[in-house]
Symmetry: C2
Subunit: 204 residues, 2 copies
């Protein structure tokens, strides 16, 4: 029987660059975890592809998934639903593969309740002012929406204490290196592997 | 004021290759921690240099260091003393640098009592039989000594539970990669950096 995989949850405030870091991670050859694609009711941004970046759903479709318990977590965020289809996550963990979730803070907290043994990584902005610049420069949102997001982000930064690790997104490549190091280290944790190691020794 | 550095303790059973892994780690350019050289009363093996591999001491010299509390830890192991001079460790941690100790299991447990906030990594053999092969192939020890070491090593493997991480020394380069990942990850631990991060946000 294979060991169960690790559930890796990357979250952090809006605009911090979760999606950019996730894409960079999965473009690297030595990344050996499975990405779990989220479902959302928000409209695709330019370049985003259904089934690759997100599963884009109508509100009706999403609410049906909620009712049928088909989501590991879900949240309404700035007027849209975001959530994680549960079937893929369960199947992949049971195959012994690590699953990587990139989700909003509200969803991460729900996952923590359901999977406290998961690995919770908070992607942090180098500063609040830089967070603001990033949102402004994204250029696809109104001032009101940006101010709303800033307020939400300040609240979310206070949520850092719910996480196991904090990775500052000073440079995308550095953030990726740190996330990969965290996953490697977690696989070496004594409390996860001592039992397996002792079993191995007894066999010989 | 700089943050205090991490004390990284690599230990594990005799013959597992602690010294080889330590040398490989410190030959790599991206290793950015300071090595703490141990003191010992055992005789230098071929190629070992005083002040590089160990500080080689007489029993009288070593016992004076014990009496004067000049050692962070010390142990008598297979008839010889091993220990860590305390001054260098304290000075380096207070400068904000990580200190790396490679020591026997008895000494690691003493360090854990004195520095529970340290990072304790157990270097594990892929199997007990391979451990035996390594000791036999070292070719510098008698059969009696080897059998004695095997007995000690079996006891030490039971000590794994005192450590934070277990790194299997299947290949030296893999072990080095895992140790570096563990140190990187520990620097990202939320409980270590959240206070600093929040302070940084408040300044701006």
């Amino acid at each position: 029987m294979r060991e169960r995989g690790l559930l890796i949850v990357l979250s952090g405030p809006s605009g911090v660059g979760k999606g950019t870091v996730r894409k960079a991670l999965f473009s690297q050859e030595d990344t050996n975890f499975e990405y779990s694609i989220s479902a959302t009711t928000r409209k695709p941004r330019e370049g985003e592809v259904n089934g690759v970046d997100y599963f884009f759903k109508s509100r009706e479709e999403f609410e049906t998934m909620i009712k049928e318990n088909k989501l590991l977590e879900w949240a309404e965020y700035v007027g849209n639903y975001y959530g994680t289809p549960i079937d893929y996550v369960e199947k992949t963990l049971s195959e012994g593969k690590d699953v990587f979730l990139e989700i909003e803070v509200q969803g991460a907290l729900q996952v923590k309740n359901a999977f406290p043994e998961g690995l919770f990584i908070f992607l942090a902005p180098p500063s609040l002012s830089e967070l603001k610049n990033r949102i402004v420069n994204r250029g696809t949102e109104s001032e009101d929406l940006i101010n709303n997001r800033m307020k939400v982000a300040k609240e979310e930064i206070d949520m850092m204490d719910a996480y196991d690790y904090v990775v500052e997104n000073d440079k995308v490549e550095h953030a990726c290196d740190r996330i990969k190091a965290i996953v490697t280290a977690e696989h070496c944790r004594r409390d996860r592997i001592a039992a397996r190691y002792k079993r191995m020794l007894e066999v010989e």
